[in-house]
Subunit: 329 residues, 2 copies
DNA sequence: CATTTATTTGTAAACGATTACATACAAATT
DNA sequence: AATTTGTATGTAATCGTTTACAAATAAATG
């Protein structure tokens, strides 16, 4: 692979001139530009990002941190990030942290080392203090998950309000024994959604029964099914459930079906995230839609603004309750 | 961020010595090592990958090309690639090509420019001639999709045999009007699976009815549903369908349900890929499982072997027909 | 035509690491 | 004590760019 000097030699100019052609500097004569461009073609030359980045100390690469690739929840956000970034001359790289501090460190180092310019973190398990450190002199944005007490800018939805809206919907349908299938409450969104759940109960004068709250380890289908099994052992069974993720809801739906109950007649079910499968289940699933794609573009724009030296503020996005068959009356 | 010279100065040694400490060269005195390590800590120094890579012309970064993030098909393969790579000191970066030649080019350039060491391509729409060019002096492996006529090593399954196995299963259940919901036959796997479909018909003495073959634009649910609608207009309806992807099968299942037909009693259905949702549908879906994770690790090992200068051969992996409720008799 | 001004190009020093080679120093040998 | 040997460190070139600054060339002015 030829380098800039060989191109310069071939074209009979200096490497500086070649560089100027590459960077579309205005001071290059049409004639020399042609010579250089021809030489570039002849030698099949591609400028080395490595040399360029070293000199410019920027890479135009953005890192997107997600806990694991398997979660369909992230795909639309990523599409948004991707589209916006590419449009603005940045490429993104998806980084799976696996909630593994060592891997996480690799990615942090990529930023420290100028191999990447900034980070959009969607990892709820991210090491906040390290991220905070990094944020002192690097561009960082959090998406979906964030830390209420830190000042790293984020884009997210109002989880409490969303959960409240779900509950209101179920209560209006006449349910007064509503279960909550929540994930681990070490996650902020889980705590917030629980808050919304409890607030709705309180405001509508329904008692809070702790045995109707099931906390899962992760968001696998199995956990949703497991929750239903647990509830079925209760003396007084719930007639509806709000799962904080569509995957949990789909697992629950499966188990409800297995037990011969009809959804929504015998049991109503609401999920969260509006993943594409939620519209393919039988019955289709009522769920909360976040403006995923838009969250992605917003996060990307915030990051790029930071890179350009602007201050950015956190943003709360709207959400929407999508009512489908699983809660029809 | 401090650089190696500042560390050297702080420690009272030369930058060469610092570099030796960083690279664990054996010739460094314990005493100087300590001095250097202390200086590194004091200055909070992190070596720049940029400088290092430029000098060493290797980045220990691998690129994984996929057409889009949204397809759950890829997740397990990626996990395999990831695990193997990390274990061997490489990091992977996920690159969405969007079947966009320009984006594709960016990633190719990353390799040309030594920003990344090699590529695992899972993109069926990849520009083969460009990839071939790149493969002349760079490490490339194809996964799932490949080009029969090129010599880029690949890891894949025997699609024809898998399709044949599916058909045999359906035929044994007594079906003689079996539809094929295939994707665009510009893809190799689609052509191969069609071949298996036709071979089975022939060997079991069943007629090939072209109107029972539906080719889709993509793998969205809707396309599966659309296929069923199309078939329902036929004079003689199929009693079973083999969809070349679980997403298509799930869309088909939905539409079959909508039409009031019972699966598997009135209509049998087989998918492909064994995505996690295929076990959550009602009824659960018979499908073909590819050893995804293992394909990932294998592809990664092939790539890393190439990087170490070894020759590698293509590999065909086993597949497995997973019989579930959608084809019970 | 000589001089000034504007424009285009070249020179060389960064960026931050690694490493062949040279050198310094200590220990071992004569 | 002088010489040899071995080990630890330093010097400086290198990777491929970009960009102040200097230099050269062309155009404009008197």
């Amino acid at each position: 692979m030829a380098n800039i000097h060989e191109v310069a030699k071939q074209a009979g100019v200096s490497s500086a001139t070649v560089s100027r052609v590459l960077n579309e500097a205005p001071t290059v004569t049409e004639k020399t530009r042609q010579k250089v461009e021809q030489a570039i073609k002849q030698l099949n030359y591609e400028p080395s990002m490595l040399g360029r980045n070293l000199r410019n100390s920027e890479s135009r690469l953005l890192l997107v941190l997600i806990p694991n690739f398997s979660n369909p929840y992230y795909t639309e956000i990523i599409n948004g990030i991707e589209d916006y970034s590419v449009e603005h001359g940045y490429n993104i790289l998806l980084c799976e942290t696996d909630s593994n501090p060592k891997r996480e460190n690799t990615f942090f180092n990529m930023v420290k080392n100028k191999l990447a310019d900034g980070i959009i973190s969607m990892d709820p398990t991210v090491n906040m203090s390290k991220l905070q450190d990094l944020a002192l002199d690097h561009a960082i944005v959090m998406c979906s998950e964030y830390d209420e007490y830190e000042r790293i800018p984020y884009v997210a939805i109002d989880n409490e309000a969303a959960a409240y809206k779900v509950m209101k919907h179920l209560i209006r349908l006449g349910h007064d024994q509503i279960a909550l299938i929540n994930s681990d409450e070490k996650f902020l969104y889980a705590r917030q959604r629980r808050k919304g759940y409890e607030r709705a109960l309180e405001e509508f004068g329904l008692p809070l029964r702790n045995e109707l709250i099931y906390n899962t380890q992760n968001l696998d289908f199995q956990e949703g099914a497991q929750a239903i099994r647990k509830f079925s052992q209760l003396e007084r069974n719930p007639t509806a459930a709000f799962a904080v993720s569509d995957t949990l809801a789909i697992g629950a739906l499966k188990e409800v079906n297995v037990r011969g109950l009809k959804v929504p007649e015998d049991f109503a079910l609401v999920g969260f995230d509006n993943i594409s499968f939620s519209n393919m289940t039988n019955p289709t699933l009522t769920t909360v839609a976040q403006p995923m794609y838009q969250m992605g573009t917003t996060a990307a724009s915030m990051l790029i603004k930071q890179l350009q030296g602007q201050e950015v503020d956190s943003i709360m996005m709207d959400h929407e309750l999508i009512i489908r068959e699983s809660t029809l009356n």
